[in-house]
């Protein structure tokens, strides 16, 4: 009899809180979006399931000695997982379009305005007394505008570990929602004529250029902005392994087994921050709101810079590819391509959009370095 009561008291039905029920619903929604809607499935499925496990009452999974908590401590608090993912991103990234048309780096720069505008917004909400974010927290929130998961997780781990869960979730969610967030903004800021602009075929890029570029990148960071070196360095290392052609077995493993293994555990560990008590707090709402703003502003400033470049440059530039400057690789580039096709069925912008898209990765890593340098001192 006593044991029966013990079962009942130990059961979820008895222990579960309303907050946990809500979170279970939210996680099932994330899983639905990932599986049925195919929004960023690699991360929404892993984060969503990690969130499910983290809201099971009365058992240590996302806490204490639970596996997800251990993975979080080992992989995210140390910064190891985001940096390894960044190495994998480098090994998967083809900088060819960027090298063929380096000016697209300006689009990747402009899109980072979303980061700093959001930082300002977070501080504004604090000044208004609506929220209470420190400068470091505001900086970490701003990085959501980088539309780059590993960068956001890395920066949050350095500047605002307490907000890491909400920031990571916001970053990945909005990257998943890019196909919904960006098109209206892009159409609002461009004329039909601009969207119709066709761009000239990209030149072929030699293997030597591909090999030298990551070295150039890491040396430039070393000389100018060391605080961005961990992120940019791992990105460049992965890309060098990809392009140098003499370590294909390492590159192949980095692009497959290694990045897949780390993605699984990164997702579960991020999910461990979706427990009700950590996630269902006012600041999460602020972060989700500000993150959305960050994406919108980043998209807008990318498009506007695209319009400017189009005016200034000899060759035509379709402003839509500016929206890809927020990164969210390769989703944002595909969105630019799709919106372009809507305007002009013969207009394939994908490869042209890949330039600003990868430039955006570099851009947000640079912005991350600046944030860390200015606020962690």
């Amino acid at each position: 009899m006593e044991l029966i009561r013990q079962i009942w008291f130990g059961s979820g039905l008895y222990q579960i809180t309303p907050g946990q029920l809500i979170m279970l619903g939210i996680c099932l929604l994330l899983l639905y979006l990932g599986i049925a809607r195919r929004f960023e499935p690699l991360l929404l499925v892993t984060i969503g399931f990690g969130g499910l496990l983290s809201n099971i009452p009365g058992v240590e999974i996302a806490t204490g000695n639970g596996l997800l908590h251990l993975v979080y401590v080992v992989g995210i608090e140390t910064g190891a997982f985001p940096l390894i993912i960044f190495m994998g991103v480098g090994a998967l990234t083809d900088f060819g379009p960027l090298l063929a048309n380096p000016r697209t780096l300006f689009l990747g720069a402009a899109a980072q305005f979303g980061i700093f505008a959001t930082l300002l917004g977070a501080l504004g909400l604090t000044a208004l007394g609506v929220m209470d974010f420190s400068v470091r927290e505001a900086a970490a929130i701003g990085i959501i505008g980088g539309a780059d998961g590993p960068t956001a997780i890395y920066v949050a781990g350095q500047l605002a570990p307490n907000l890491l869960g909400a920031i990571a979730v916001a970053a990945y969610s909005y990257m998943a929602l890019v196909p919904l967030i960006q098109p209206p903004i892009m159409k609002l800021l461009t004329s039909e004529a601009e969207r119709k602009i066709q761009m000239s075929q990209l030149r072929e890029v030699s293997s030597t250029e591909r090999i030298v570029f990551p070295l150039l990148l890491v040396l430039l960071v070393a000389l100018l902005l060391p605080s961005a070196a961990p992120l940019i360095g791992m990105l460049a290392f992965g890309n060098l392994m990809r392009e140098c052609g003499v370590v294909d077995r390492l590159s192949h493993t980095t692009q497959n087994a290694l990045i897949n293994i780390v993605t699984i555990f990164l997702g579960l560990a991020v999910g461990s921050k979706l427990s009700a008590e950590q996630f269902l707090v006012p600041s999460t709402l602020g972060i989700l709101l500000l993150g959305m703003v960050a994406f919108a502003i980043g998209t807008a400033s990318g498009v506007l810079m695209g319009k400017l470049l189009n005016r200034l440059s000899s060759q035509p530039i379709n402003p839509l590819i500016g929206a890809a400057g927020v990164s969210a690789v390769p989703m944002a580039a595909r969105v630019a391509n799709r919106v372009g096709l809507d305007a002009n069925p013969h207009n394939i912008l994908l490869m042209h959009a890949m330039g600003p898209n990868v430039a955006g990765v570099i851009g947000s890593a640079v912005a991350a370095g600046i944030m860390i340098m200015f606020t962690s001192s």
Binding site: D94, G96, L98, L99, P102, R103, L105, F106, G108, A109, Q112, F113, I115, F116, A117, L119, L120, L123, G124, T126, A127, V135, A138, A139, E204, V205, S206, S207, T208, E209, R210, V212, F213, L216, L217, L220, L224, L225, R242, E243, D248, R249, H252, Q255, A359, I362, G363, V366, A367, I370, M371, F374
Partner: protein, 82 residues
């Protein structure tokens, strides 16, 4: 009264600080991003010119067919060992 006033003033100052900090961070931050990426554009363009001048023979490569490459690599590895 005076205490409340003073608190009020201090609050204003703090708020002013935050906004100012945010503004400077934004200006200097975007500035640095643009300076850095401008230098990167320059360095990359220069690099490409040098490469294309001194290694014109260098065959152009696109990284498309990864798996094929992997297989080729395996073959090479095989040959290498025998």
């Amino acid at each position: 009264m005076r205490i409340i006033e003073r608190l009020q003033i201090e609050a204003d100052i703090v708020q002013g600080d935050l906004i100012n900090q945010g503004l400077t961070l934004m200006l200097v931050g975007m500035g640095t991003v643009f300076v850095f990426l401008t230098l990167l554009v320059g360095a990359t363009t220069l690099m490409s010119h040098l490469v294309l001048r001194f290694r014109p023979a260098d065959e152009a490569v696109d990284a498309a067919d990864d798996d094929v490459a992997a297989i080729t690599a395996a073959v090479v590895a095989h040959r290498r060992r025998h």
